[in-house]
Homo-oligomer: 399 residues x 2
């Protein structure tokens, strides 16, 4: 008994049957005497359909109006989920992001939560109403609607759980938990019982689709106990928390990220501040840059190579053209980043060579390498990505 | 030059081409130096589709959650219209009902506007932004979303025009103005240059689809100059105002209303207060009742016959069953109300008999009659409705 936050993604609310299914999950948790806050995403492909609708009218709409439009997706979900709970006789109320007091900054399309005024949520909980909150949404100081960017509903769930001091935050998805690799692609993938925030964070950043990284950061910061589990199959999932019983694994997971564009700037002026100028301008535009390599070029100038999310590529090119008019810019969209993650690898110096050997044995060419304390990433050809994940998984976890 | 409110209905924003069309109308008005407030409805059949979506999940959703869902329709329209104006280089901002300060009571599904806090609208207008407001929407004192009922966008437009003291309020629709009868049905229908609020109000109440009656009431109360015109054909429409030059017409229009259920209660206890009990209960549930006839029945008891909007019939029957368990209730959905409207008819005593004669000549049976100072209505079989309108129109305006 206590306060439980349950987050359901777009596939879990995609149609009448799915909505009735999650209504029963919520009912079961409620009947055990818990107070419940539910956070839902937009149904199925609703967000993409709304974006298409916008681009048909205007290929370059303002981000403010796009957020005004995109807020619609979660609004539909919360009212339908509330109606499904009403139908089975449960006390329920749906709340939009702003009705839930979720206040963000004004970076439209990828806003950050600044604070949550929990007055209304607490008021509804005190009446033992089940509260259905629209994920992904917020409001800024101008009373304009914002969105938190892709995966924003996870962030909403964790932030609300932290603000209301919930006992746990359950993230329901279409897989049964966190696996050593994508179970839809690697048949021997192993479900992890527990995982640390840091490991989960690396997995999320490196492309595991199960949780978005900002939500994991928030959970770590506020000590929110996370559980990743399936909305379709009622079995225990994966617990994400600070300390876990080590399962004697060197690595915890293998991920693949195909949302990558590699951008090469050939011949940047070799004087101090040039690289800073480029990357500070990208940062000011809220563009995350990954895997930066800077090299001395063939003449007096340097080459700079870095990767960004594929959907940001157009914006990045526009910024680069404004910043450095004289350099040649090459892009490559045909890549994937495959990574291994695990706190255990620090004490196992052979980990990197074992990974590279698996790729070599599969005849896969490595284009770039980057490492952190608990991950090793390689950039390879997109067509080799699934083969690479399987080969590395077999090498570490056996066939 | 001044402040112009322009309202566009669902067909005017139904798709990309229609939205681009109204963007050009708005642009023309803006380029003439006007400040502009635009009020839009949901696209095409969006509201009906949302209702279907709700009923699929729960045949009897709470009105609060239904309003939470229905608000989505206008939210989509305003952002798309704003994006279309951005594309042609105009300064624009979309505002939801609550962002526009439209505060209503808490009668979900058919809320009334209590006041409009125009701070935000004035602020945007002072920056010469074109303001796109979501019609039909409001917010109550609990910070919950409400809707104003069918035709609510007209009400929003007139209420905003009154609050901001606009120079005029243009209602764009798919006909060119107010006609003596529906021009899609009666080929000799005449477009009126001017009409009084009272006549327009009767026409609206009696089923002319061109304006909803609450918006006309509001316009009369605050002296808002209305113009009804076409969004597809740029010709002068019909002006609605207090005094008009009489065009020597006895009647101003003929209307048809097919959204009618006739409810007969056979054998109500013949004691004081019984009718009051029934009608006060219906009023408390915000159900408008029309054409009441009370008669002495065949025995000690009375019969009460009245009409309501067809979509309220189910709710009325539920209320009647709770209030009077012993009486027999009969409903008839197969009716139409045909009415003639005009301030001139008071001084022309032959008007009613001329109307009845036209119906008699067309072999149409009259089931019930009701009259007011400026209208005469008859209930007839649904199948005869169009024939009746044409016959009466020919009789008053010639073939």
């Amino acid at each position: 008994m206590g306060i439980v936050v349950q987050k359901f993604g777009g596939t879990s609310v995609a149609n009448k049957e799915r909505i009735e299914n999650i209504a029963n999950i919520i009912k079961d948790t409620y009947k055990k005497g818990n107070d419940i806050i539910v956070v839902v995403s937009a149904q199925g492909d609703t967000t993409d359909e709304l974006i298409d609708k916008a681009l048909e009218i205007n290929p370059n709409p303002s981000k403010r109006e796009l957020d005004q439009l995109l807020n619609v997706g979660e609004q539909i979900s919360i009212s339908l989920v509330a109606m499904a709970l009403e139908k089975i006789g449960l006390p329920v109320i749906s709340l939009l992001g702003w009705q839930s007091g979720i206040i963000t900054n004004s970076v439209y399309n990828s806003a950050r939560i600044k604070k949550i005024d929990i007055t209304r949520i607490e008021n509804e909980i005190s009446k033992h109403n089940i509260v259905i909150i629209a994920g992904f949404q917020g409001i800024n100081k101008y009373d304009d609607l914002t969105t938190l960017g892709r995966g924003g509903s996870d962030t909403t769930a964790v932030a609300v759980a932290a603000a209301i001091n919930a006992d746990k935050c359950q993230i329901f998805t279409d897989v049964e938990g966190v696996y050593t690799a994508d179970p839809r692609k690697v048949k021997n993938a192993i479900k992890l019982k527990e995982i640390t925030y840091d490991e989960m964070l690396e997995l999320a950043i490196l492309g595991a689709q199960v949780l978005n990284n900002r939500s994991v950061e928030l959970a770590k910061k506020f000590g929110v106990k996370l559980e990743v589990l399936s909305s379709l199959n009622p079995v225990p999932g994966t617990i994400v928390k600070e300390d876990v019983k080590m399962e004697k694994m060197v690595i915890r997971g293998i991920t693949k990220d195909t949302n990558i564009s590699l951008i090469s700037i050939i011949g940047v002026n070799n004087k101090p501040g040039e690289a800073f100028k480029i990357f500070s301008k990208l940062a000011n535009n809220n563009i995350d840059v990954d895997v930066i390599i800077q090299s001395i070029g063939r003449d007096e100038n340097k080459d700079i190579v870095f990767s960004v999310a594929k959907d940001k590529c157009k914006e990045v090119l526009k910024i680069l053209k404004e910043t450095i008019s004289d350099a040649k810019i090459i892009t490559n969209d045909n890549l994937a980043k495959v990574s291994i993650v695990g706190a255990g690898m620090i004490s196992h110096p052979g980990t990197a060579s074992k990974m590279f050997e698996a790729l070599y044995d599969s005849n896969i060419n490595i284009q770039m390498i980057s490492t952190s304390e608990i991950n090793i990433s390689v950039l390879i050809d997109l067509k080799d990505a699934d083969k690479a994940v399987s080969a590395i998984h077999d090498s570490f976890f056996g066939k």
